[in-house]
Symmetry: D2
Subunit: 368 residues, 4 copies
C-alpha cells in the first residue's frame, strides 16, 4: 500500500494519464488521508482541460469528492460543525480554504476573494508532495485547515456528489441576490448549477420557477425538481421569442429574479430583458472567461436593475447544502442526478460525457 493511482492532466486538451504516486508515510498535524469513494466531474473540469483557466500543470482534477477517512493527522479531532472525526468516517470538504484574516476575508467579508485561496483539483500541482490534492484519485490528501464535513448516515453519497459544487455555488449566489417569498424566478440553464438554483428558488418560496435550457433530458430533470415551466432552447431558438415567453408567464412584466447559470455571454444580455423593471439579475454561470458580448448599459439604467455576481462558496454554504439535501430528498432528488459512473481508468470517457451534456452528472468511482 505504498503506491497509489490518480488520473492526471499533464497537457491541455490531451488525454488524462493514469499515474502512480507514493502514499504519504506521515501526515502533518491537522491533515488527513482519505480513500476516495466518489468524485464528481464538474463542467469546470472541462474548461480546465481546455486550458480556459490559467492553471499550472500537472494537476489531478476533481474538486467534488466524498471519501472515507483513512488516517487523521495529529490534532484533527472535529469537523467544521464540531462533530468528532474518526477513521472510517465518510466525509466531504470544501475544495478551497480562505486565510480568514486578510482584507477580503476579515475587512470586507468577501472570503471567496481571499488572495491565498487555492482549490483542490485546480490549484495544486501533483508533481510535488503531498501529490494527492484532487478527486480523480484513489486517495486524497487533505491539508491542515481544510473544512471537513462528516456526512450523516442517511444521506447517500450520490446526493452529495449529484449536488456537487453546483449546489453550494447556487446557495451562495442566491444568498447574495435574495429570493423573497412569492418572487417570479427564471433560471437560465438546466445543468447542475441551473438545477441547483431551481431547487433553492423553489425551496425559498418562489411563486413560480421557469427553467430555460436543454437538452430534453435536462429539462425533464428540471421538471422532477419542480420547475413550473420549462423552455427548450432547441425548440425556441430566438432569444426574442424566449423573452416574450417569459413576459407572458409573468403577467407581461418580466421576472422578479433571473438567475444566469449557463456561462454563455449572450445569455446575460437576454436575461436582463427577462427581468421586470426594478428586478434582480444574478450572473452565476461565468466562472470561466467565456468572452464578451455586445451590451447596452442603457438597459440597466432604464429598467432600474440590480445585478449580482457570486464566486465560489464559503463553508457555511456546504453546511446548509448538506442539511438541505438531507431534509428534502423527496422534493429535490439530487441522487438521481448521478446518471453516469466510470472507474478511474476511464476518466477521459467521463470527462467527454460531461463535455457533451450527455449526462445530468457524471462521476468517478476510483476504488471500484
Amino acid at each position: 500500500m505504498n503506491v497509489t493511482q490518480a488520473s492526471v492532466l499533464e497537457k491541455f486538451e490531451a488525454p488524462l494519464r493514469l499515474r502512480e504516486f507514493p502514499l504519504p508515510t506521515h501526515l502533518e498535524p491537522g491533515a488527513a488521508l482519505v480513500r476516495t469513494e466518489m468524485a464528481g466531474i464538474c463542467g469546470t473540469d472541462v474548461h480546465l482541460w481546455k486550458g480556459e483557466l490559467p492553471i499550472s500543470l500537472p494537476v489531478i482534477l476533481g474538486h467534488e469528492t466524498v471519501g472515507r477517512i483513512e488516517q487523521l493527522g495529529e490534532g484533527l479531532e472535529r469537523d467544521w460543525t464540531g462533530q468528532p472525526l474518526r477513521a472510517g468516517d465518510r466525509i466531504t470538504w470544501n475544495s478551497a480554504t480562505s486565510c480568514g484574516h486578510c482584507y477580503y476575508c476579515a475587512e470586507k467579508r468577501q472570503p471567496t476573494r481571499c488572495a491565498e485561496r487555492r482549490a483542490y483539483g485546480i490549484g495544486y500541482r501533483c508533481d510535488q508532495p503531498p501529490h494527492l490534492l484532487g478527486g480523480y484519485a484513489k486517495f486524497h490528501y487533505l491539508r491542515p485547515r481544510t473544512h471537513i464535513f462528516k456526512l450523516p448516515d442517511d444521506l447517500p453519497t450520490e446526493s452529495v456528489i449529484g449536488a456537487g459544487c453546483a449546489l453550494i455555488t447556487a446557495i451562495h449566489g442566491i444568498e447574495r441576490t435574495g429570493i423573497v417569498w412569492r418572487d417570479n424566478v427564471v433560471v437560465q440553464g438546466a445543468g447542475p448549477v441551473g438545477i441547483s438554483a431551481l431547487a433553492v428558488a423553489k425551496a425559498s418560496g418562489a411563486a413560480q420557477v421557469i427553467v430555460i435550457g436543454g437538452p430534453k433530458h435536462r429539462l425533464e430533470m428540471a421538471k422532477r425538481f419542480g420547475a413550473d415551466h420549462t423552455i427548450d432552447i432547441n425548440a425556441v431558438r430566438d432569444p426574442a421569442a424566449r423573452i416574450s415567453a417569459i413576459r407572458e408567464l409573468t403577467g407581461s412584466h418580466g421576472a422578479d429574479v433571473v438567475l444566469e447559470c449557463v456561462g454563455i455571454p449572450s445569455a446575460v444580455v437576454e436575461g436582463m430583458e427577462m427581468c421586470r423593471d426594478g428586478g434582480k439579475y444574478l450572473i452565476l454561470g461565468h466562472y470561466c472567461d467565456g468572452g464578451t458580448v455586445s451590451f447596452n448599459p442603457h438597459v440597466v439604467t432604464r429598467k432600474q436593475l440590480q445585478i449580482f455576481g457570486s464566486w465560489s462558496s464559503e463553508p457555511r454554504h456546504m453546511k446548509a447544502a448538506i442539511e438541505f439535501l438531507r431534509a428534502h430528498r423527496r422534493d429535490f432528488p439530487f441522487d438521481a442526478m448521478v446518471t453516469h459512473r466510470f472507474p478511474l481508468d476511464q476518466a477521459n470517457e467521463a470527462l467527454s460525457t460531461t463535455a457533451q451534456w450527455d449526462s445530468a452528472k457524471t462521476v468517478l468511482i476510483p476504488n471500484a
Copy 2:
C-alpha cells in the same frame, strides 16, 4: 396678457423656434399657472434635440424650472410637503408624476417606472392645450397632481437650477446603491450628475471621492465641491492607466463604490474594473441610449460585483434635495454651477453651450 412666448423644438437637429401661445383663460381644478423665473438646460435636452429619445414633436423643452405662481386652480392649496401655496410664491416641481396605484407604483414600489409617467419638457406636445408644458417659456402650466415644492426664501433660485434634475437623479441612484460611512468612492464624470453624485457621496461620509472627467473647468468645480482627487481624462487618456490610478488611491484594491455619471458605454466596462471585489457599481448616466459596448460577464462573477441602475427620481428626492441645498450652501455651492445665462430668444445659443461642455450649467431667464 392673452398671448405668451415659448421656444419650441419643431424638428430634430433644427434650431428651436420662438412661438406664441395663448395663455390659459381658465385653470382646471388642482392646476396652476407659473411665471418662469429660470429654466435649466439639461444635457438630456441636447440628446432630445438630436432625436435620441423617441418623443413626439413639437415640444417646449425644459424640465428643470423655477417660477412664481401666477394663478392657482381650485383646490390647490398646499405643496407636496404640506405648506400653503399662494400667488407670488416661488416654486419648483417634479417634471414627471406617477399614477400611484399601478403594478410598478404600488405593488413593486418602483414608481419611476410607472407606465403613465410623462415629463414636462419631454413628453407633452405643445400644439395642443394647455400648450405650456415645458420650461423654455415665459409661462408654465402645471397640471393637476403635479408635485410642487415651495422654495424657502433663503435658498437662491440659482442653487435649485444649478442642481437641476442632476441632483435628484443622483440622490435616487445613491439611495439605491447605498454609500456607507468610510467608503472609497469613484465618480466617473464631472458634469452636473457627476458633481451632484460627488456632493451626495461626500455628505454621506465617503472616506474619499475621486472624480474622473474633464474638461479642466469641470474638474476645478469638482475640487470646489470637495473632490479628494481628480483624474483628467484628457491627461490620462488610457483607461488602463486610469484603472491603475484608482487602484493606487485605494490601497491596491479598488473602490467600494463606483458611480457612472457619463453616459458613454465604454465607461461602464472601465468602471467595473475600478471596483474592489464585492464592490458596488451604479449605472446612472445612461438615461439615453448611448449604444453598446463589448462586455465580459465573467468580470461580474469573478469580482462578485453588485451593479445598480436608477431611473429619474421620486418627489421625496426633491424634498431631500431642497433641504440639502439649503443646509450645505457653503460646502456644495450649486449656485456657482450656473455659469451661463441667456434670454429666451437665445435658447439655441444656450443649448449649444451645453452641448459643447463649455459651461458648468447653462440657464434661460425667460422673462429677462
Copy 3:
C-alpha cells in the same frame, strides 16, 4: 329594498344590537354597494367590544368581508390589479386606505402609518350616512378609493375569510422581518395570526417552524399547516421550560427568527430569549394595548438582536395573499379555518365563540 340590517356596537361590553339602516339611493363616483357574503370575526373585534381601542360609537364591526357587487358608482371600472369590475362580481377589499401623498405615505414609505387612515368596521360611526361601513351587515358601502380585489372563481370565500386580516398582517410583518431560506423559525401563538405566520414561514423555506400555543384544537390546525413541532402552553406552563425546548430543537443556539403572534406582553420577553444571538424578533401580535411587561434591555445588546414591529398591511399584501391562497390550497387549508358560522342575528354568539378561543375562525353569513 330600501331598508337593510346591520349588527351594531352601541356600547362597550354590551350586546350588539340588530339595527335597520336605509340603503343608499345614490352612490358617489368611485363608490360601490356590496351584498355581504361572509364577514369574519377577528380577535380585534373582541378587543374593540371591550373598549380596548379608542373608537367612537356606534359602529358596525367587521373588517374582513367578502361580498358581491350590487351597484358600482360612476368611474369605478377596475379593481386594484386592473381587472374589470361588474355587478355580481365577488370581491374583497382592504379595510383601510392611506392617502398616498403624506409624510408617511410618500416620504417615508410607511403608508400604514398614514394619519388619514380609517378602517371599515373600526373607524367609522354608523349613525351618519352612508352608515354601512362594516362587515356585520347585509350590505356594505365601499367609499371611493377603496382597494377592491375581484376574487378568482376557483378561490372559495372560506379561504379568503379563513385567512382574514391575519394573513395580510403576517405577510407584511414577515416582509419587514425577512425570513431566509433555511431559517429556524418559532411562532408564538396558534390563533389566526400565528397560523398565517406559520404558513408564510413554511412557504418561505424555513428549515423548521415550531409553534407555541393552545388550545389543542389550534395546535392540531398548526400541524395541518405544516408545523414541524408544537409546544402546548397548557402542558409546558413554565416559560423557562419552553425556552429550553426551543434551544433543544435548534442545536442549542435558539431560533434565527421568532414571530410573536399572541398579544400578551410577557410573551415578548420570553420570545427574545428564544432567539439565537444576532437573531430576529417580530412583535406582530400587539395591535391592541395589552399593557406592560418588565423588560431588560441588556438582553438586546448582549444578544445583538434585531426587533421589528409591523402595523396592518398594504394593498400589495392583499394581492399576494389572494395569489398565495389560490396557489397553495392543499398545503395551507385556510378554508378549513372556518369552523363556526352564524347568521347576522347571532352576532353576539359569534363574538363570544371567538372570545373564548373555541373556534379556529368564526364567521357571519349575513344574508343566510
Copy 4:
C-alpha cells in the same frame, strides 16, 4: 527588569492594589510584550469594580491600551492590516479575539458572540502566567492571535485612547443600524459612547444630530463634536418634555434613528417614543445588566419600529476607527476627550473620577 507592576482588582468594591508580577522571560510564538504608554478608564471598568459583570478575580483592569512593542514572539511579523511590526512600534489592539470557525464566527457571522471570546482587562485572571493581561500595568502581554494595529506617527495616542472602546463600539452599532444620508438622529447620552456615536452619525451625513445628556461639560464636548442641538437632562427633567423637544426639532414626527448610549433602562422606553413611526432604535449602552424597565410592546407594533442591539466590535471596526481618527482630527477632536491623567499608583482616583462623570475621559500613564 525582571519584575513589574500592575494595579489589581482583588475584591469587588474594594480599592485596587498595586502588585508586582514577573516579566515573562520567554514569549510564545505569535505573542508580544508591550510597554504601556496609556490606558483608558472605561465606564465598564466602574461596573466591573462594582461586580456587575460575572468575572473571576483577581484581574488587572484596562481594555483600552496603547503601548510600544518591547519584544515580539516568533512569527509575529505583521499587524492586522499587513504592516510590518518591529520593536519600538507604537500599537493598539482589540481587547478580545474570536475563534473564527465556530457557529457564531463562521456560520452566522456574529463573531462578537463567539463562545471563546475573552477580553484583556476583563476575562483573564492575573494570578496565573502570563499575568499581564490588562492595561492598568507597566507592561502588557499580548497572546498569540491578538489583533494588533500599528499606529501612524501623525495620530496622537490621546486620540486613540480618547476614542477608546467607545468609538469602535459605536461604529459597530451604527453599522448594524444603518444611518442614511439626511437622517434625523438623536443620541441619548453624552459620555464616550454618546460622543462617538455623535461623531459617526455626523460623518455619515445625518441632517441633524441631537444629543441628550449631561452634565454640562459633556454637552459642551458634544457641541465641539458638532451636535446640532443638545438637551440637558438636568434642565429638562421630565421625559415627556424631552420627547416633545425631539418632536419639535424633527417636524413633529420624531427622529429617523435614535441611538441609546446611556445604559439606563428607562432611557430605552423614552427613546422609542423619540423615533418616528418606521424609525430605528439602537440599544448600544446596555453592555452591563442595568436591570429592568416597564415596557409596552404595543409601541413597537404600532410605530413599526426596528430595534437593534450590538455587542462589542470586530477588528475591522478598529481599522475604521484608526483611519477615521486620523482623517478627522479637526472635526472630531477625540484627543481633547482626555481631560484627566493619573499615574499607575493613582488608579483608584482615576476610577472614581470616571465613576462620578467628572471627566470626559480619564487615563492612566503607567510609566509616567
